[in-house]
């Protein structure tokens, strides 16, 4: 269960971003960025605020359309993506500023993640015919497994609005997992969490990667955690790629340090502290 074994499992290139450039009315958000993601690996995109991390994700799953560059997913080349297609191809994501469905229960929120797989027609649903009910139940079972996996049992039927922030983050992850994605995009999964919550979250992320072999791309602010759980890291700064490689390579990259120095000492501390491992991650067998 050591690092060695993990890296064996990492397969060929699943996603390849080629020379992506994106701008909003003249303002350049991303400039000619290329990087690839391999099957089963955990790939981190880090960088100071406004480095274009989120824009990167939004391009990845088709919320934004880049002016230049193309996305190669699983051998298929796309110059423009749209959310629906991304979802159908098996790309799921979580959101930085929780985008849960406030009015719905934890269960229903995660159930929505199954909608692409629910085929029963309007009429069948309206009359709750056998097939419709069976389908509902079949997917309920899948969702229950996710709830079990994320240890949300105690809140199954609570409206997500009433949950504490940390739990909502977990539900968000659960909703993405319900799509049984090949590629999972995590937008600052640990933003605004305390150390303990961060450790839990990193444990879940690793477990997802282990249990389901899901390829994961995550954006993070907290270098410490990222360095600990990711196989390779891309560093962005002002929409440009300034570093790419294993955590150690990145950590020793002078340009990276400079970028972080640029935004304040504590980030560097984080970067250096990153050497020390996160118990949560350790517990998960890393």
């Amino acid at each position: 269960m050591a690092q060695g074994e993990r890296t064996d499992r990492v397969g060929g290139v699943l996603l390849d971003m080629q020379n992506i450039s994106l701008s909003f009315g003249g303002v350049k958000a991303l400039t000619d960025i290329s990087f690839d993601v391999r099957e089963h690996e955990i790939r981190a995109i880090i960088g100071p605020n406004g480095a274009g991390k989120s824009s990167m994700l939004n391009v990845l799953n088709g919320v934004y359309t880049p002016q230049q560059g193309s996305i190669v997913f699983d051998g298929q080349r796309y110059t423009r993506m749209n959310p629906r297609r991304a979802a159908e191809m098996g790309i799921a994501r979580t959101f930085q500023n929780l985008a849960l469905f406030k009015g719905m229960s934890v269960l229903d929120n995660i159930m929505t993640g199954r909608n692409l797989r629910m085929k029963q027609g309007l009429l069948a649903q309206a009359l709750r015919l056998g097939p419709a009910e069976r389908e509902e139940i079949a997917h309920r079972e899948v969702v229950e497994n996710i709830i079990d996996f994320l240890e949300l049992q105690a809140w199954r039927k609570t409206p997500v609005g009433r949950l504490p922030y940390g739990l909502q983050k977990r539900v968000d992850l659960g909703r993405a997992l319900a799509m049984e994605p090949r590629l999972l995009l995590l937008d600052e999964p640990m933003a605004g969490m305390n150390m303990e919550e961060k450790q839990d979250m990193s444990r879940y992320i690793l477990d997802v990667n282990d249990e389901f072999g899901t390829t994961i791309v995550l954006i993070e602010h907290d270098m410490g955690v990222v360095m600990d759980i990711s196989d390779r890291v891309v560093v962005l700064d002002y929409g440009r790629k300034i570093g790419d490689g294993t955590p150690d390579e990145v950590r020793s990259n002078p340009e990276v340090i400079r970028a972080y120095l640029g935004v304040g000492g504590e980030m560097v501390d984080a970067a250096l502290a990153a050497a020390g491992s996160v118990p949560g991650a350790a517990a998960a067998g890393r």
Partner: protein, 655 residues
């Protein structure tokens, strides 16, 4: 269909036989439910029997032989239960381990019982096993129930439950008759299970219990409480603890009711409300916790509701218990109580998950009379029982209608009790253990030469034949005049008062009994505020004459109690004082588990002790204290000493 009393005829004298009986008599009735994936997944007796058969073959395939020990470690989980059954079918001996024990503690047991195969619940337990494998040469296989996180474990010893069953089916094809042969080979006198006593003194001891012993006790209780196969039990305590094991495993197999396993420790309360068990068991601390939650939640209620609640509870205190005991109660009170039942008691029982409880037991430690009364008064048939691992739990049980807070009821069918001159309770019972595993000297020490079991508890049978536990035998002392002196007993009685946090009784070898008292700052502080009594901190409050009066009343009540008790009336408290500081583990006055260190305190506060026995009415002391931040300081105070009202033993006849 009508609920049938355990139809498993006397023929079935072993657990395997019982299992097959139920599979035959009630194949489609639920045997084990588990809240899993959001619903109560149900296993019928047939399914259980089938799974056990496969598992038995599986264990056999792993080379488990008759008489070998098989460890089972985890929460209450159907598969762990079935593993125990399977082991028993093989004639092997299941040894449940405490799931929260650390690896090293387990290592001892694994070595002591030469465990070859462990059935573990999940990654957490598996990790422990792998950690100590080096020290346990015998350990060959670790079977796990929940594969989560174990996917990439490459250890040869590891085996998933499914793999085990697969092995089983193959083995079954090879030797079809095997299972039945094993089952038939098991005899009632064989060892059924081994429980390690948590070992307050020295290393844990393996208590060896036979099929006959366990099953006999369960049968007796089934008759006594008229248990049927319709009962629902919630298994939420460690299965390695004989109490839980008796209720949710032995009785399950004897009576054939349904045992329910909660989803996770975090959801026990919800699951309890879901299931609404009919047959319930809880140690006092659990009941205490529930009651506290109730009071706290009521705090925030509007005043109308609170008034209603308080008045209803008052009524309940007055008549509830008597109704429960079937004593005569005025018609008006009955009517009022019925109303209260709709408004408060019923909903309360529902909130506690006890609406359906027919029989509830508590045991393990002394239970406060108020706490005890609370549950009975709202219509929950809570009763005390007395027993231990060595006695297969049931020694004494309070029969319906004869329930009192301060006794544990009469010996149940088949149990003989005698009180040694030392005051120790000794007993004979069909449920008695065979021996301590590989520990003859301990076994010998536990039994008298004429074969009675030494409980190590001091007490006596009162005139109604109810057993009354006073104290641990070793703690019981005697006053100068030779009469019985049980400090813990007295201290507990005092501590049942909300105002008293700690108490230390002195008197061994002395003429009379005196006590130190620690007031409960919260309770007394609250009491003081309500009567507008200003105070500055603990020491100040403790020295108030009003407080002394308050504590005086408590002591008086206890004395009255003691006076009613022929054996203990001698040890009524003559004098008391309220300590000027709170007893504190940091000052070594309490153990980390908050048990008073009588000797240490006696030495430390010698001046006060002297003062009490010299009859002074106040004494100046300086005491060194350690603060949280490690600084040391000195508290100087003049501690008042008061006399307590005592009662003549005669008072009993008068009353």
């Amino acid at each position: 269909m009508a609920p049938s009393r355990s139809a498993a005829p006397a023929a079935a004298q072993t657990f395997p036989a019982l299992l097959l009986e139920h599979a035959r008599l009630r194949p489609d009735k639920p045997a084990i439910r588990e809240k899993d994936l959001g619903i109560w997944q149900t296993l019928t007796w047939r399914q259980v029997a089938e799974a056990v058969r496969a598992t038995t073959h599986g264990l056999a395939a792993l080379g488990v032989r008759r008489g070998e020990h098989v460890a089972v470690v985890g929460e209450n989980r159907p598969r762990l239960y079935m593993a125990m059954m399977a082991a028993q079918c093989l004639g092997a001996i299941p040894v449940p381990l405490y799931q929260d024990a650390i690896a090293q503690e387990m290592a001892f047991v694994l070595r002591d019982a030469e465990i070859g195969v462990v059935v573990a619940e999940d990654q957490e337990q598996v990790d422990k096993m792998l950690e100590v494998r080096g020290e346990c040469p015998a350990l060959r296989h670790v079977i796990y129930d929940d594969p989560r996180g174990l996917r990439h474990y490459r250890d040869q010893a590891l085996l998933s439950w499914d793999e085990l069953e697969a092995l089983g089916t193959r083995h079954a094809q090879a030797e079809p008759g095997f299972f039945q042969d094993c089952v038939d080979a098991v005899s009632p006198q064989d060892t059924a299970a081994m429980f390690y006593t948590s070992g307050t003194t020295g290393t844990p001891k393996g208590v060896v219990l036979t099929h006959a012993a366990l099953i006999d006790r369960a049968r007796v209780i089934e008759r006594m409480e008229c248990l049927t196969d319709r009962e629902d039990v919630l298994a939420y305590l460690p299965p390695a603890w004989i109490g839980q094991n008796m209720f949710s495993y032995t009785q399950l197999l004897v009576t054939g009711f349904t045992v329910n396993h909660p989803e996770s420790p975090a959801t026990v309360e919800i699951d309890m409300r879901d299931i609404g068990p009919t047959y319930y068991f809880a140690p006092p601390r659990v009941l205490e916790g529930l009651l506290t939650r109730v009071t706290i939640r009521m705090e925030d209620a509007g005043w109308i509701k609170r008034r209603l609640f308080d008045s209803c509870m008052a009524l309940a205190r007055r008549v509830g218990v008597r109704l429960m005991d079937g004593e005569p109660v005025g018609l008006l009170d009955r009517a009022l109580y019925a109303l209260g039942d709709v408004l408060i008691y019923g909903p309360l029982r529902n909130a506690l998950g006890m609406s359906r409880v027919r029989v509830a037991y508590t045991a393990g430690e002394a239970i406060g009379p108020d706490l005890f009364a609370f549950y009975r008064s709202i219509g929950i048939n809570l009763k005390q029982l007395y027993g231990s691992t060595e006695t297969s739990v049931f020694v004494c049980v309070q029969p319906d209608g004869k329930v009192r807070a301060d006794t544990v009821g009469p010996p149940v069918e088949g149990v003989q009790i005698r009180v040694a001159d030392s005051g120790e309770i000794q007993l004979k019972s069909p449920g008695l253990f065979k021996e301590y595993y590989r520990n003859p000297e301990a076994t010998q020490a536990a039994l008298t030469e004429d074969g009675w079991f030494r409980t190590g508890d001091a007490g006596y049978l009162d005139e109604e034949g109810h057993l009354r536990i006073i104290d641990r035998a070793k703690d019981v002392g005697r006053l100068a005049d030779g009469s019985l002196f049980a400090p813990k007993y007295i201290e507990n009685k005092l501590k049942f008062f909300p105002y008293i946090k700690e108490a230390v009784a002195f008197g061994a070898g002395r003429s009379e009994v005196c006590v130190f008292v620690n007031i409960d700052l919260e309770a007394v502080g609250d009491w003081a505020e309500r009567r507008g009594l200003p105070y500055a901190g603990y020491t100040d409050l403790a020295s108030k004459p009003e407080v002394y009066a308050l504590i005086g009343q408590c002591i008086e009540q206890v004395n009255a109690d003691l006076a009613r008790d022929p054996k203990l009336c001698g040890s009524q408290m003559r004098r008391y004082l309220v300590l000027h500081k709170e007893l504190d583990p940091d000052d070594d006055e309490l153990t980390r588990t908050r048990k008073v260190r009588r000797a240490f305190i006696a030495a430390k506060y010698d001046t006060l002790v002297q003062a009490m026995y010299e009859g002074r009415d106040s004494q100046y002391v300086e005491t060194e204290v350690k603060y949280e931040d490690g600084r040391r300081g000195v508290i100087r105070a003049t501690v008042a000493i008061a006399d307590a009202r005592v009662f003549a033993p005669a008072l009993r006849e008068a009353a």
